[in-house]
């Protein structure tokens, strides 16, 4: 207790005001009360880990297009995604658990997005936000537009809409949290576009044409516009 302060001003310090009178019971939360007298709970380690994972998710601060504006609104006041234990945006993929893909993915960006996704530590989850990440959305017929995020990285939750309202995004993320907490795994998805070394591509006319521009070891993504779904 800082009696020194009380002597000079007579006012309470912030700490004193928080502590209140009597025994310090700040750490006896409602949860603690629920446990009763024993400080132990008995559960499976996996269930515990899943619950922890689902309750504290770090989002990658990742903006692509229009949807990122609604994503920012979801993080900001009024919608405040952090209420659900899932709204701390991290600027580095190395610190993130979840990537929300908010916008149209075009040919030039897909390899970069794949690279960012690869940099995230396991276990990692993907929420694809908006129609563009479901199918290419309104830009599906564009010559440069990848027809959905799932062509490049596996997605756990799709939130359709153009753009989805913040409420819809929150619903999608809470659903993802539920699934993680229950230990459900994502379905295995087919990804037509992978990063591969240029030298490993099938040797056809296009590859021969580009041979003097691209090194054998360079990573490339080859787009097959006709056959993508």
């Amino acid at each position: 207790m800082s009696s020194h302060n009380q002597d000079t001003t007579g006012a309470q310090t912030t700490q004193e005001a928080r502590m209140g009178e009597g025994v310090d019971d700040r750490f006896n939360s409602k949860l603690r009360e629920a446990f009763g007298s024993s400080p132990f709970i008995l559960t499976k380690f996996d269930s515990f880990m899943n619950w922890v994972r689902g309750s504290s998710m770090f989002m990658l601060q990742f903006g692509i297009a229009c949807c990122s504006i609604e994503m920012m609104h979801t993080y900001a006041v009024k919608h405040d995604l952090d209420r659900f234990g899932s709204g701390v945006p991290r600027a580095s993929p190395r610190q993130a658990d979840v990537i929300i893909v908010p916008g149209t993915i075009v040919s030039k960006f897909a390899p970069r997005m794949k690279r960012v996704y690869d940099q995230m530590p396991e276990p990692k989850f993907v929420v694809s936000m908006g129609s563009c990440t479901c199918s290419g959305g309104p830009f599906q017929e564009g010559y440069n537009v990848v027809k959905g995020a799932e062509e490049v990285i596996p997605c756990d939750i799709h939130v359709p809409g153009c753009p989805p309202r913040p409420e819809a995004l929150i619903y999608g993320i809470v659903k993802l949290q539920e699934r993680i907490a229950k230990g459900e795994t994502s379905p295995v998805t087919v990804k037509p576009y992978e990063l591969e070394e240029f030298g490993d591509l099938e040797d056809d006319e296009l590859v021969q044409h580009l041979a003097d521009q691209i090194d054998e070891e360079d990573l490339v993504m080859r787009y097959n516009w006709a056959e993508s779904p």
Partner: protein, 558 residues
């Protein structure tokens, strides 16, 4: 600083008469470089020999005062390629002229205009990338929107959209490998394409000399989603209107829709009822407020740090604007509310409630703005970061084709709402804001003060709408079900978007879809000026300069 147009400059303004431009005088000025004349809806255009482009442009700029190259449109016809330089004057943007440069299909090459207008650099690179025209003497003719290894030119006539493409990841140069670019002390640093300070997916290739920026080059195209192709596939009447919302997606949707509406209405000669014009003016200014608030909020993030109070304040106010716009249009962001010849529907019932809600917002706004000024413009930390950093001189800004708050922050008194009136703006009482500081601080100040002006406009519109007689509330004029403008009609029309001059070029071919649809994005030109602002400054000032440009990548890349 007022509705009065600025004093004309000291240029020898050849061809300026009381009734408008005397194009014959201009033509004789150009001499034998001209091989023909075309009439576009917005202005006359001179057909110029491909080997005399720089000369013709330079004469028009130096002797006739056309100091604003607002756009370069490229397109392919069956028998030729064509580049059109749309020229204007900063002093009076209603004085326009086009310079049409035809080239042959077998060898599409014409002289570059880059030596005359700095802004032509990126525009010509885009024309090369998407249409496939070569520009002789261009300093750096590379692809700009598509990856370097792309095959074909997608807006050309013979492009096969189904062919395979290979995109490499090599542009991620290892910063340690490329350590010493020139001399012993420079370091190469990638900023982006995924970086919180780039406001989207922009890649800045920076060369650092110690902590100072020796060179910066923007690498764009990470959000090039073929807006022009999509608009060329859509029918005029309904299928194009949803897309403008997605160019500048920072809630500026209605401003963008107005750009298309204005161009298409002038092309097809459609009228818009006065009542609809007032609704348009009101809702567009609401969008401008929302857009400027986001610009200020994210700028504060760039300068102060992660998710700070100002960002939250700005988003709180944006939510209010978005609620009002949702009441009006039914959508928070992608409004699709304008129609050719008017708007989709009238104000929501009960009207009193809508007016009250909007008035509440406007009444609250001065207090909110005072708070912003306390937090931002009178904050010593921000002033230290922003005053006298990211300088762009007015003449440089004009050379790069900068418009909007960026130009007005450099003292260029250019606002299409006043200078090339449309909508209901010329009947209302409001001011054009300019600041003479030319720095990051001025640009932020311009945006904050423009919010006040927009609020003034909205208030006057509400008063008008409230008193409008009930039986005269005409929201749409009579527009044919299928619009087919006459073949080979060409038009370039611009409006004042949130970021500056947003122009649309449309060429019709007699069908119900445009033959060429070109978007002149203000952010594209503004971003081009970034090296001028950032070179020699510290790295944090580069980030501040980028934030103060307020680019949105959806509009840069289209």
């Amino acid at each position: 600083m007022s509705l009065e147009a600025p004093e004309p400059s000291t240029h020898a303004d050849v061809g300026v008469t009381e009734e408008g431009l005397d194009y014959d005088a201009l033509e004789s000025l150009l001499g034998d470089a001209v091989i023909g004349r075309e009439t576009h809806v917005n202005a006359e255009a001179f057909v110029v020999r491909p080997d005399r482009v720089a000369n013709a442009l330079s004469v028009l700029k130096e002797e006739a005062g056309f100091d604003h190259c607002s756009c370069v449109t490229a397109q392919q016809y069956e028998d030729r390629y064509e580049s059109i330089y749309h020229l204007k004057k900063y002093d009076d943007p209603t004085q326009e002229v086009g310079v049409v440069v035809p080239t042959s299909v077998s060898k599409p090459a014409s002289q570059s205009g880059e030596s005359v207008y700095r802004t032509a650099d990126w525009h010509e690179r885009e024309a090369y990338d998407l249409v496939g025209i070569d520009y002789d003497d261009h300093p750096d003719l590379r692809r700009i929107l598509l990856p370097e290894t792309w095959q074909g030119h997608p807006l050309g006539l013979n492009y096969d959209q189904e062919q395979h493409q290979v995109v490499p990841l090599t542009e991620h140069a290892n910063p340690l490998q490329e350590d010493h670019q020139e001399g012993a002390d420079t370091m190469f640093l990638n900023v982006g394409p995924h970086h919180p300070a780039t406001h989207g997916v922009l890649h800045l290739k920076t060369t650092l000399d110690g902590e100072q920026v020796a060179d910066v080059e923007s690498d764009i195209g990470y959000l090039h989603r073929c807006e022009e192709q999509i608009c060329q596939q859509g029918t005029y009447r309904h299928q194009i209107m949803p897309y403008p919302d997605r160019w500048d997606y920072i809630s500026a949707g209605l401003l963008n829709e107005w750009a298309y509406a204005r161009a298409a209405e002038d092309l097809a000669d459609l009228d818009v009822p006065e009542y609809a014009q007032i609704i348009r003016t009101m809702s567009a200014e609401l969008c401008r407020i929302a857009s400027h608030l986001l610009a200020v909020g994210t700028f504060a993030i760039d300068v102060y740090g992660d998710f700070s109070a100002i960002f939250m304040y700005a988003f709180r106010d944006r939510e209010v604007v978005q609620n009002i716009l949702e009441d009006l249009t039914g959508q928070r962001m992608m409004f699709n509310y304008f129609r050719l010849g008017g708007v989709a529907w009238d104000l929501p019932e009960p009207r009193e409630e809508f007016f009250e809600k909007t008035r509440d917002f406007l009444d609250e706004l001065p207090t909110r703005l005072e708070e912003y000024h306390n937090l931002i413009s009178s904050n010593e930390v921000l002033q230290l970061r922003c005053v006298d950093t990211g300088i762009i001189e007015p003449e440089v800004a004009k050379d790069y084709g900068c418009t909007g708050p960026v130009a007005r922050g450099s003292g260029v008194d250019y606002d299409l709402r006043r200078d090339d009136p449309y909508g209901y703006y010329d009947q209302l009482d409001w001011d054009v804001i300019t600041e003479g500081g030319c720095d990051n601080y001025s640009r932020v100040l311009v945006r904050l003060r423009e919010v006040e002006e927009s609020a003034k406009i909205i208030e006057q519109c509400i008063n008008l709408l409230e008193e409008w007689p009930e039986d005269e509330r005409e929201i749409q004029s009579n527009v044919p079900r299928t619009l087919k403008p006459d073949a080979d009609t060409e038009i370039y029309r611009a409006v004042e978007g949130a970021k500056g001059e947003l122009g649309i070029y449309i060429r019709s071919d007699g069908t119900d879809t445009p033959a060429r649809f070109k978007i002149r994005s203000p952010c594209f030109s503004n971003l081009q000026a970034l090296p001028e602002m950032a070179q020699g400054e510290y790295v944090p000032d580069l980030v501040a300069a980028l934030g103060s440009l307020d680019i949105v990548l959806g509009e840069v890349d289209r």
